[in-house]
Each structure stands twice: as structure tokens, then as C-alpha cells.
């Protein structure tokens, strides 16, 4: 063993190790997630499909706080948040300051950005809470990034946009206790895996667009995305996917994809056998070649 550490083996072993480390990092889960210029034309496809619980435009002035924005659970796996009217004025200010330069002061859209009237509070909540809005840059697809607004500000903007026109996607509250992970898995494979991949790692689509990784999405955002169909994603209405099924999918993404019971050692990024082949050749064959180099003659 001592011979292994003599000078002439150090360089090849260190090299092999370094290449291996870089490879592992490349394929490590989440490496791809971090960066990105992405981009976006997504909002064009957002139209209202249903009026599942229009928010109350306040009779009694309830203060706009997170507490008052909490929904009342109603036995169904998905219930909707009603935002008090007191959220609208601060939302209008935030909208004017941050969104109106592209979407217009009345949210009716412009040459740069789509009309937001009638898209619903849930759609706005998805785009703003995932950090996709305001846009980082106007390339092909909006990129997920740390949100600019806190939860309350996000809800205020959503409330303002909702107040402009009725309908659209509402902000859901999902009760995972009533959802079935197993059924969610079946539905996920059927409806989502073709783009987001079966491990939820995401993958490239046509011409620079991509299906994002699902590992950071919150349960609420998952349901909002299903209902509003952001960007290239299809919009699934209650006729395609019922509220129960949407909750099942969210439970699967949250419970299995984001928190997998994952025995078998280091996962290699969930990007398929290319990473496995890389490890097999480098660590398997490479290591054994070093061993044969060690025990064989070298002249």
C-alpha cells in the first residue's frame, strides 16, 4: 500500500480523483438548479377557466394580514384563500411601482407583457412567489429565483389583480392529509413526467425552453401551476384533473420527489444512466486499472 503513495502515483491518482469529483458535482442533484438565465413569454397562455370562489371584496374592512389571508378548510383537499379588500390598495401601489411598466397601469398588458385581467390571484401568486416575476431578463423563459416580495406583499399584488376582473385561478390551500401519494404518483407519471422527468429533475425542451426542476416548488405553487399552466406548461382544468387529483399530485411531488425514501447510496442526480456510466467507467474501471497498474509490471 505504501508504494501507492510514492511520487509517480500521486499525479495520476490526484487527477483521477479530481476528474471524479468534478463529475460527481456536475451530476449532483441541484447543481443545475442554481444558475440560469432563463426567460419568458409564459403568461400569454393564462386565461381564466373557472370561478372557483371569487375573493370577498370586503363588506367589513378586515385588515390585510397573513392571518386574515388564511383559508377556512372545508373538508375538501383544496380550499381557496379569500383575500380581504384591505389588501387591494397596498397591492395597487406595489403593482404600479413594480409591474406596471410592462403590464400597464391597469394590468391590461402591452407589447412587452400580457394582459393580467382575469388571470386570477393564484396565477399572480405563482409567478411572483416563485421569483419569476419581475423578470430577470426577457429571454425565452422566466427563471425561478428568490422572490422579490414577501408573502404579504405577494398576496397584496394578487388581491389587486384579482380585483380588476373576476374569475381566474384562485390561491389554493392544500390539505395533504386528504391526498393519496400513490394515486399522485400514477397521475404524475401520466401527466407530468414527459417533461419534468420521472424524478422531477426537469429537462430541456425545444429551442432553449425547459421544464424546470420541481425540487423547490411548494405544494401551493404546484397546484397553481397545474391550474394556470405557466409558460409552456399545459393548463389542466378541473375537467382534466380534479381538485382531489391535483392534491394527490402535489402530495407525490412533495412527499416522494422532494423527499424520496432513497436507499442505495448516493443518488446520481436523477438524470439517468449517463451519470451512472460516467461513475461506472471512472470509479469502477478506472479504479481497477489503477489496481492492475499497482500489482502489474510497468516496464
Amino acid at each position: 500500500m505504501r508504494r501507492l503513495f510514492r511520487g509517480r502515483y500521486v499525479v495520476p491518482s490526484v487527477l483521477a480523483g479530481a476528474v471524479g469529483l468534478v463529475g460527481l458535482l456536475m451530476f449532483a442533484p441541484g447543481a443545475a438548479r442554481a444558475a440560469g438565465t432563463g426567460a419568458s413569454t409564459g403568461a400569454a397562455g393564462m386565461r381564466s377557466y373557472a370561478t372557483a370562489g371569487t375573493p370577498a371584496s370586503g363588506a367589513t374592512p378586515t385588515p390585510c394580514t397573513l392571518a386574515t389571508a388564511t383559508p377556512t378548510t372545508s373538508g375538501s383537499p383544496i380550499s381557496y384563500t379569500s383575500l380581504p379588500a384591505s389588501c387591494i390598495p397596498p397591492g395597487e401601489q406595489l403593482f404600479a411601482a413594480n409591474c406596471s411598466s410592462c403590464h400597464g397601469t391597469d394590468a391590461a398588458g402591452s407589447a412587452l407583457a400580457p394582459n393580467l385581467r382575469g388571470v386570477g390571484a393564484g396565477t399572480v401568486d405563482f409567478w411572483v412567489s416563485t421569483g419569476r416575476m419581475p423578470l430577470a431578463d426577457s429571454s425565452i423563459q422566466a427563471t425561478r429565483k428568490p422572490p422579490r416580495f414577501d408573502r404579504l406583499q405577494t398576496l397584496e399584488i394578487a388581491a389587486y389583480v384579482q380585483s380588476l376582473a373576476p374569475g381566474g385561478v384562485q390561491i389554493p390551500s392544500v390539505d395533504l392529509q386528504q391526498a393519496s401519494v400513490s394515486n399522485g404518483g400514477r397521475l404524475f407519471t401520466l401527466n407530468c413526467a414527459a417533461c419534468h422527468t420521472i424524478t422531477g429533475a426537469g429537462d430541456a425542451l425545444y429551442k432553449g425552453a425547459y421544464a424546470p426542476s420541481l425540487h423547490q416548488a411548494t405544494v401551493q405553487q404546484i397546484v397553481e401551476a397545474i391550474r394556470s399552466g405557466p409558460g409552456n406548461m399545459p393548463r389542466f382544468g378541473p375537467g382534466n384533473i380534479t381538485n382531489q387529483e391535483a392534491a394527490d399530485i402535489a402530495a407525490y411531488v412533495h412527499g416522494v420527489i422532494q423527499h424520496p425514501s432513497d436507499p442505495g447510496g448516493f443518488g446520481l442526480g436523477g438524470v439517468g444512466p449517463v451519470a451512472e456510466g460516467f461513475v461506472g467507467l471512472l470509479f469502477g474501471v478506472g479504479l481497477l486499472m489503477l489496481v492492475s497498474f499497482w500489482i502489474g509490471e510497468r516496464s
Partner: protein, 494 residues
């Protein structure tokens, strides 16, 4: 007692004579001659773990309700094949370790075959009289790739099912007979009536391994019969073999190596997750996941399919799917046939019909070396092209850009590799003192504190002395001390 029983056996079978010869068999010691052994011992691990897996795997597409310990799957209708693979992963003690070690062993098996084949190719070990053994080796490589694909498909998970679907299309793309052949293999239109899983199973665990074992015996038998090649060096000629005897040196070394290969494969199996089928779910023909690639040894075929422009020709009342046939049938056919006929092509073009037991240095055969490097580069580029989507997603480039780039790279990189390798070989031939160990520089300090340097004396085995044929006895003999290239090294006549 042992002596007595052995004598009893010898009186009847005469084993001592052959046994003596076998135990005295000489194996050259160069490290690169052990690459094939990695494949051999990976194959042993494959057989052992495969037997374990076959005890629990159920080769049936019959649907059952899953009731095992993997919660997200409970209550779903899955095939028995899938359910039993998940079951042996989670509900059988050390089952997952065995399955993962089996899969890693397959990856390493084919990887070491590739490396071993590269060694044989670049050193010219395939030349007369070893062309037959080269062909046997290529056949085992093809069978190994095929069996890897079959085994990869057995769990009936979403990712491998996609591969079977592609295989069906590839068979279908063969002109004239394609659709009949596909019906024959799958027992009807895709996905058949669930016959494909049991058929793949029989092929994977019985027929192909049996053929590989037979070919392996031929491969090793020919090696023993023809004796091993060796690199030129002190006392090594076309007429002798210099190395360690089978017993005790080589046997100890190779047994140790077997344990190390096994250890490495089980380390991978224990620490690195491979093919987590429980994440993928059961295959349904109408479902698909993205980011699907085959195992690495099939990757170049997948890459060829991906970079191929969509050429399709309609004529004579048929659609001719050239975009599938050319990359998936014609191209691998050409590659493997080129491998097989290479020794004969080379002999024809170099007009070299002599026996060769001494190996070439790759740089001394620049054309062969650069041709080999170009083919390797082509296959590597195609392998990379099989992950176009993953690369595009990771580097945030357009998928289309990546694909078009690979179309150029697949053509240009091998050509560039050929010329660059050729230039390097020529340069290395011309360089002075190449192939000889650098002479040590001795630094001395005089009594007055002055430093001086000079080259050390040439040491034996440094490659500085002239090679000369040394007459050796026809029977095994300990090499005279002054001729020994290492402790315990012997030489025999061919």
C-alpha cells in the same frame, strides 16, 4: 493421505503431466495484460449476483396489485416483473446491494472489455496468429452489450420500457423483413401480449450467458494454446515468453485481483445508487419520462439515433425509415464488421504475414493508432450526444443548438483526432530517448560546498541496452540470475 489420493487419481487420469504444464504456464506481468481479467472477474460477479436475483425475480407481465413496503406504490396495478424487482430491492435482505452490484458489474464488465480491446488493438496483439481470438472477443463484446440491454429491460420500469419501444422501432426499420421480424420477436404488434418479458428473461439468464461462457472458454483456451504476447524488452523475443509461472506467482496475483474487483463492484453497489426503478414506476406503453438514456454501452447507439437528420423516403408503396435504419442498424453493423475484419485488412495493406508475439508500441504504428483513436472519438462523441437534453438543460443552451453542434462534432472530431494523433505519434518517434527511462541526475556537493550534477549510470532494465535473443532451454528453467528481469521471472520457448 492427500498424496495417496492424488496418486490414485493420477494413475487413472494422468492429470499430473498436463497439470504440471498448466501450473508452469508463463504469464507476462505487464499491468495492461490484466485489463481483460477485470472483465473476467466482473463476469464472475455478474453470474453470482445474477443467480441471487433470479431467485426472487418473476419474469411475468401479469398485473398484480403492489402490496410491498414501498409506500408510494402501494395499491397500484403493476406487472409482476416490476413488483418483484421492487420487492427484491426493498423486502429481500441485501437484495438492493445485490441488484446494484449486478448492475455496476455489467457497466464495469463492458467498460473493461472496451479498455482491454483498446489495449489489444493499439499494441497490435490481434495480429497473426491471434485473429481468431480477436473475433471471439468482439463476439463476446456484442453479446455483452445485447445482454446488458436485455437485463436492463427486465425490471419493466418506465425508463427501460422506453428502451424496448425504441428497440421495436429499430427492428421494424429494417427494409423488407422489419415488420415481420418485429412481430416475431414481440409476438405481435407492440407491446405484444406480455411475452417480451419472459423471452428477454430466458435470453438474459440462460442463452446469452451460456454462449458467453463457451466463448470465454475458447478465448482463454486460445490464450493458453497460443501463449501470451509480450512487450519487447530485455530478453524478450518473438520466440519466448517471459513472465511469472501460473503457480504460485500468477495464481496468487490473479486471485487477489479477483477479490479486489469484487470488492470494487460491491463498494459501488453499496455506495452509489444505480437505476432506482422505484422512482421510475411501472412501464405503460402510453407513458413516458424525459431524460431517458440507455446504459453507457448502448449510449453511442442512442446518440447516433439522436444526431441523425430525419431522412425518410417513401417509394414502392412503402415508407423507408432511413433516419432509424442508418444510425441504429447500418452504423453499428459497419462498426462491428470493421472491428472483425481489421486484422485481415491490416495484414493485406501492410503485406505482413509473419507471426507476431512481440507487441507494438502504439506510436510505431501511427496509422493504426490514429485510426483507432478516431473511432474511439466517434463513439465517444455519439455517447455524449445521447445526453443532448441533459447537457442543454445543465448548461442552459437551446436543445436545438446542442443537437446541431453534435452533428458537426460527430463528423469533425474524429477527423481532427486522426490527424492530431498521427502528428503526435510521428513526433514521439522522432524524439530522442523516447521509450527509455530518463537517467537519474545525481547531485553532489563537494567538501567546499560546491554543487555538481551528472547523469547516473545506466541501470539494467532501463531500456538503454541493446536487445538480443537469448537462447533458452525447451523446458522450464529458472532464468539465470544475470538475465532475470525480476524476482521469480521465468521464460519458456513458444
Amino acid at each position: 493421505m492427500i498424496d495417496k489420493s492424488l496418486r490414485w487419481l493420477d494413475d487413472r487420469l494422468g492429470v499430473s503431466k498436463g497439470g504440471r504444464t498448466f501450473l508452469d504456464k508463463i504469464f507476462p506481468d505487464h499491468w495492461s495484460f490484466m485489463l481483460g481479467e477485470i472483465a473476467l472477474y466482473s463476469f464472475v460477479v455478474l453470474l453470482a449476483t445474477g443467480v441471487f436475483l433470479s431467485l426472487y425475480y418473476v419474469p411475468s407481465a401479469h398485473e398484480v396489485i403492489y402490496h410491498g413496503s414501498y409506500a408510494p406504490l402501494r395499491g397500484q396495478r403493476v406487472s409482476e416483473a416490476y413488483a418483484s424487482t421492487v420487492g427484491l430491492s426493498f423486502d429481500v435482505k441485501s437484495g438492493l446491494l445485490m441488484r446494484q452490484a449486478h448492475h455496476w458489474a455489467a457497466d464495469v464488465f463492458l467498460g473493461s472489455i472496451a479498455v482491454h480491446m483498446a489495449r489489444v488493438f493499439f499494441t497490435g496483439a490481434f495480429r497473426k496468429p491471434r485473429e481468431l481470438n480477436w473475433i471471439v472477443g468482439i463476439t463476446m463484446l456484442i453479446l455483452g452489450i445485447a445482454n446488458g440491454f436485455l437485463g436492463y429491460s427486465l425490471p419493466d420500469d418506465l425508463v427501460s420500457g422506453t428502451g424496448i419501444r425504441i428497440a421495436y422501432s429499430i427492428i421494424e426499420s429494417i427494409p423488407l423483413v422489419g415488420s415481420y421480424l418485429a412481430f416475431f420477436v414481440f409476438g405481435g404488434n407492440y407491446p405484444g401480449n406480455g411475452v417480451i418479458i419472459p423471452r428477454f428473461f430466458v435470453l438474459h439468464v440462460l442463452i446469452v450467458p451460456a454462449v458467453i461462457v463457451g466463448l470465454l472458454a475458447a478465448h482463454l483456451g486460445l490464450l493458453v494454446k497460443q501463449k501470451h504476447t509480450q512487450f519487447p524488452g530485455k530478453g524478450k523475443t518473438e520466440r519466448n515468453v517471459v513472465g511469472s509461472p501460473m503457480f504460485p506467482t500468477f495464481m496468487a496475483k490473479t486471485t487477489g485481483f479477483m477479490f479486489m474487483v469484487t470488492a470494487a463492484l460491491f463498494l459501488l453497489g453499496g455506495f452509489a445508487q444505480i437505476n432506482p426503478i422505484w422512482q421510475f414506476g411501472q412501464y405503460q406503453p402510453y407513458q413516458i419520462s424525459y431524460a431517458v438514456q440507455p446504459d453507457w454501452y448502448m449510449g453511442w447507439l442512442d446518440g447516433a439515433l439522436r444526431v441523425m437528420p430525419s431522412w425518410e423516403w417513401v417509394g414502392w408503396g412503402h415508407t423507408w425509415p432511413l433516419e432509424v435504419f442508418i444510425p441504429a442498424v447500418l452504423f453499428p453493423g459497419i462498426v462491428f464488421n470493421l472491428f472483425i475484419v481489421w486484422p485481415f485488412l491490416e495484414a493485406k495493406f501492410t503485406k505482413d504475414t509473419a507471426y507476431h508475439h512481440l507487441l507494438d508500441r502504439p506510436r510505431d504504428r501511427p496509422k493504426r493508432t490514429s485510426a483507432g483513436a478516431a473511432v474511439l472519438m466517434l463513439l465517444f462523441m455519439l455517447f455524449c450526444a445521447s445526453s443532448t437534453d441533459v447537457l442543454a438543460n445543465y448548461f442552459h443552451i437551446s436543445l436545438n443548438t446542442v443537437l446541431v453542434t453534435f452533428r458537426f462534432l460527430v463528423v469533425l472530431m474524429p477527423i481532427a483526432t486522426f490527424f492530431v494523433t498521427h502528428a503526435i505519434c510521428i513526433e514521439m518517434q522522432r524524439a530522442e530517448g523516447v521509450g527509455r527511462r530518463k537517467r537519474a541526475v545525481v547531485v553532489t556537493r563537494s567538501a567546499t560546498g560546491e554543487f555538481a550534477t551528472y547523469d547516473a549510470d545506466v541501470r539494467p532494465g532501463d531500456g538503454h541496452e541493446e536487445l538480443e535473443a537469448i537462447p533458452v532451454p525447451t523446458y522450464i528453467d529458472l532464468t539465470p540470475r544475470h538475465l532475470a528481469t525480476g524476482p521469480g521471472v521465468r521464460r519458456v520457448m513458444r
